[in-house]
C-alpha cells in the first residue's frame, strides 16, 4: 500500500470512515431493496470505495464531480447527507430529488455533486461543462468525471478528453475500471487492457493506479488536481478495482463472473487494506474501529428512520419541476 505522507491521522481516519460509510450504506440499501422498501434498480459500489474516497479527499468543497449509475459512493465521498440520500431511495418528499430520481439520480449541487446518471457516459460532457465553468469562474476550481471501463468506449469520453485537453480545462477523468460492464468483460470490449493508454492521443497524462489503495488514488488525484488548478489541463486516471456484488441488486440476477475471481478481489478489500495500515501506524485500534462502526451504524439507522418517517410525495407533485420558474 502507498504511504500517506503529510496526511494527518485525523484525515486518514476520516477517509476510512467514509469508505466504511459507503459500504454500510449500501449493505443496508441492498437489504431494504430486497425487502421492497427501495424500488427500481440499485447498483452497489462495494469493493470500489477507495476510488471515490481517494479522489474526493483531494478535492475542495467547491470542486465539482459527476457520477454514474453507481452513484452512492461518490455522493458519500463528496459529503452528501445520508438522511436525504436514504429518503431518496425510499422515494420520499425529503429525498435529494423529492422522490423523483431514486438511486440512479441522486445529486447535491450544494456540495458540488452534479448527479448520478443513468446513461452510460452520459455525465462526462456535463461535468466537462462544469470544468469549463470553473475555468471561466477563474477561482481555481476543478471538476471530476467518474465513469466506468464500459463508458470509456463511448463517444463522449473521446470528444470530451479532446476538448478538455485543447481548452486546458481543469478536469480529472477518473476511469473506474472494475473489469466489467454489466455482464461483459472489459477484456472482450477493449483493444488494450489499460484505458489510461488513450491519454497519449490527447497529450495529457494518463496513469494507472491500484484503485483499492486509497492513498495511491489520492496521490494520483492530488497530482492531477495540482496540474488542473495551475492551468495545466486535464488528466486521465485509471483505477483498477472490482465490484463485489452483481451489476444490480435485482433478485435472481445472474453473476457470470468466476467465483475465484471475485474471491481474489475480496482479499484485496480496500477497507481492510486501509484499516490494516492505520493499525500498523498505530492510528487505529479495536476500540477506535468499534466506535467508528457504531457511529456509522447510528447515522445509518437515523437515516433510515428519517426516510421512513418522511412522507411520500403527493401524486400531484408529479407535475412539479418539469420546468423551472
Amino acid at each position: 500500500m502507498s504511504l500517506s505522507p503529510n496526511l494527518p491521522p485525523d484525515k486518514q481516519r476520516e477517509m476510512l470512515r467514509r469508505m466504511l460509510t459507503i459500504r454500510r450504506f449500501e449493505e443496508r440499501a441492498s437489504t431494504d431493496y430486497l425487502a421492497g422498501k427501495i424500488y427500481g434498480v440499485v447498483h452497489c459500489y462495494i469493493g470500489e470505495e477507495a476510488v471515490a474516497v481517494g479522489v474526493c479527499s483531494a478535492l475542495d468543497r467547491g470542486d465539482r464531480i459527476i457520477s454514474t449509475h453507481r452513484g452512492h459512493g461518490h455522493c458519500i465521498a463528496k459529503g452528501a447527507d445520508l438522511n436525504r440520500m436514504m429518503a431518496e431511495l425510499y422515494g420520499r418528499q425529503t429525498g435529494y430529488c423529492k422522490g423523483k430520481g431514486g438511486s440512479m439520480h441522486i445529486a447535491d449541487f450544494g456540495i458540488g455533486m452534479l448527479g448520478a446518471n443513468g446513461i452510460v457516459a452520459g455525465g462526462i460532457a456535463i461535468v466537462t461543462g462544469a470544468g469549463l465553468a470553473a475555468q471561466m469562474e477563474g477561482k481555481g476550481g476543478v471538476a471530476v468525471s467518474f465513469f466506468g471501463d464500459g463508458a470509456s468506449n463511448a463517444g463522449p469520453f473521446h470528444e470530451c478528453l479532446n476538448i478538455a485537453a485543447t481548452w486546458k480545462l481543469p478536469m480529472l477523468y477518473i476511469c473506474e475500471n472494475n473489469l466489467y460492464a454489466a455482464q461483459t468483460s472489459a477484456a472482450s470490449t477493449h483493444a488494450l487492457s489499460d484505458v489510461a493508454a488513450r491519454a497519449a492521443g490527447y497529450g495529457i497524462p494518463g496513469v494507472v493506479v491500484d484503485g483499492n489503495d486509497v492513498f495511491a488514488v489520492r496521490q494520483a488525484a492530488n497530482a492531477a488536481v495540482d496540474r488542473a488548478r495551475s492551468g495545466g489541463g486535464p488528466s486521465l486516471i485509471e483505477c483498477k478495482t472490482y465490484r463485489w456484488r452483481a451489476h444490480t441488486e435485482r433478485r435472481g440476477q445472474p453473476d457470470l463472473r468466476e467465483a475465484g475471481e471475485i474471491e481474489a478481489w475480496k482479499r484485496k478489500d480496500p477497507i481492510a487494506l486501509l484499516e490494516r495500515q492505520l493499525r500498523d501506524q498505530g492510528e487505529l485500534d479495536d476500540a477506535g474501529l468499534q466506535t467508528m462502526e457504531r457511529e456509522i451504524m447510528t447515522a445509518l439507522e437515523a437515516a433510515v428512520a428519517f426516510a421512513e418517517a418522511s412522507p411520500f410525495p403527493l401524486p400531484e407533485q408529479a407535475t412539479d419541476d418539469v420546468f423551472a420558474a
Binding site: V41, G99, G118, A318
Partner: protein, 325 residues
C-alpha cells in the same frame, strides 16, 4: 396451446429466423444468453457500450448483404445512436435512390412501471414515427410479438420492434409453427359498438379490462390494437370509429405530438369518419412529464383501466350538437 412470455416469444422468433438464415446476426451490449448459447459469439455479439457505433455497423453490414439485429435494450439508450437512426438508417435507402436494401431489426424496450425513473422509462415511439423511412411496431401479446418480429426480420427495411417493459414476463399462447403477422395490420382485440378504444401494448390489456367492466353496465367497447405504428392501419381505426362514433386513445406515452395525436388526426381528417364522430376524441395518456421514481408519483403519471373507463364515460356523455352551420 403452449404459453410463452412476451420476451420469450421475441427470443424464439429471433432464434427461428437465425436458424434459417445465416446472414442474420445479433448485437447488444450484453449478449442474450439463450441466443449466445445456440449461435455462438460470432453471430451473437456483445458490443462495447456504443449504441451509435453498433447501429451504424448494422447499417453497413445490411448494405453488404447481411441482416443484422441491433438490440438497444432500453429505448432511452438509443438516443446516443439517433444520428445513425434518423440521418442514416431512415434516409439511406431513399437518398441513394434505392440502390441496395438495408434489412435491419432494431429492438427497444419502452414504457414505465419499473420505478426506474426518467432515464430508463420512456415511450418515445412517436419521435420515430415522425421520421420518414422507418417501420415500427409495438405488440401487446406474445403471439403478436413472435409473428411481428419474424415479419420484421424478413422485411428489407429498417424496422424497430418497440417492446413493452411491463409485458416482458406476461404469458400468452404462442403456436409452435412458423407464422408471421403482416406489418400494417391492426387487430380488433374486442368487438363493440358504442365506443372505440385504440390502445397500445399494456394499455390494450387495460382497455380490455375497462371494456369488461363497462360491459356489465351495457356499454359495448371495441378495442383496436394497431400493433404496427408505421405503417399504421388507418383504415381499421377509421372503420371502427365509423361504426361506434366515439374514440378514446390509450397510450403509455405522453400526449404531445404522440401516437395519440396522430390517431386523433387520422380520424378527424377523414371526411367519412369525421361525419360519424359523435363526440370529441379523448386521449388517455401519461402526463406530459419525465417519468418520476417514487411509486406514488409513477402511478399518478400513467394511465390505467380506471382512467380509460373515465375517458369512455366522458366521450359517451358528450353528444355532438346539430350542425352548427
Amino acid at each position: 396451446m403452449r404459453e410463452l412470455t412476451y420476451n420469450e416469444a421475441a427470443v424464439e422468433a429471433v432464434a427461428e429466423e437465425m436458424r434459417h438464415d445465416p446472414k442474420i446476426f445479433y448485437m447488444s451490449t450484453d449478449a442474450i444468453g439463450p441466443l449466445l448459447k445456440e449461435f455462438g459469439a460470432e453471430r451473437v455479439r456483445s458490443t462495447p457500450i456504443t449504441e451509435a457505433a453498433f447501429t451504424g455497423i448494422a447499417i453497413g453490414a445490411a448494405g453488404c448483404g447481411f441482416r443484422p439485429i441491433a438490440d438497444w435494450r432500453q429505448v432511452t439508450f438509443c438516443f446516443v445512436a439517433m444520428d445513425q437512426i434518423v440521418n442514416q438508417a431512415a434516409k439511406i435507402h431513399y437518398m441513394f435512390g434505392g440502390q441496395v436494401t438495408f434489412p435491419i431489426l432494431f429492438r427497444a424496450a419502452v414504457g414505465g412501471g419499473g420505478l426506474v425513473a426518467a432515464q430508463h422509462s420512456q415511450s418515445p415511439y412517436s419521435m420515430f414515427m415522425n421520421v420518414a423511412g422507418l417501420k415500427m411496431f409495438l405488440p401487446s401479446t406474445p403471439y403478436d410479438m413472435k409473428g411481428l418480429i419474424k415479419t420484421a426480420i424478413r422485411d428489407n427495411n429498417p424496422v424497430i420492434s418497440f417492446e413493452s417493459s411491463r409485458l416482458m414476463t406476461r404469458k400468452g399462447p404462442v403456436p409452435e409453427d412458423d407464422y408471421t403477422i403482416p406489418l400494417g395490420k391492426a387487430d380488433i382485440k374486442r368487438e363493440g359498438s358504442d365506443v372505440t378504444v385504440v390502445a397500445l401494448a399494456w394499455l390494450v390489456h387495460e382497455a380490455l379490462a375497462a371494456a369488461e367492466q363497462l360491459a356489465q353496465e351495457g356499454i359495448s367497447v371495441e378495442v383496436v390494437d394497431p400493433r404496427t405504428l408505421v405503417p399504421l392501419d388507418q383504415q381499421a381505426i377509421r372503420n371502427s370509429v365509423q361504426k361506434t362514433g366515439r374514440l378514446v386513445i390509450a397510450d403509455e406515452a405522453g400526449p404531445t405530438a404522440g401516437f395519440s395525436a396522430e390517431v386523433a388526426a387520422v380520424v378527424t381528417e377523414d371526411p367519412a369518419t369525421f361525419a360519424r364522430l359523435k363526440a370529441p376524441v379523448k386521449r388517455v395518456c401519461a402526463l406530459q412529464v419525465p417519468i418520476p421514481y417514487s411509486p406514488v408519483l409513477e402511478n399518478h403519471v400513467f394511465p390505467d383501466r380506471k382512467r380509460i373507463v373515465d375517458g369512455i364515460r366522458e366521450v359517451l356523455q358528450e353528444r355532438r350538437p346539430a350542425d352548427a352551420a
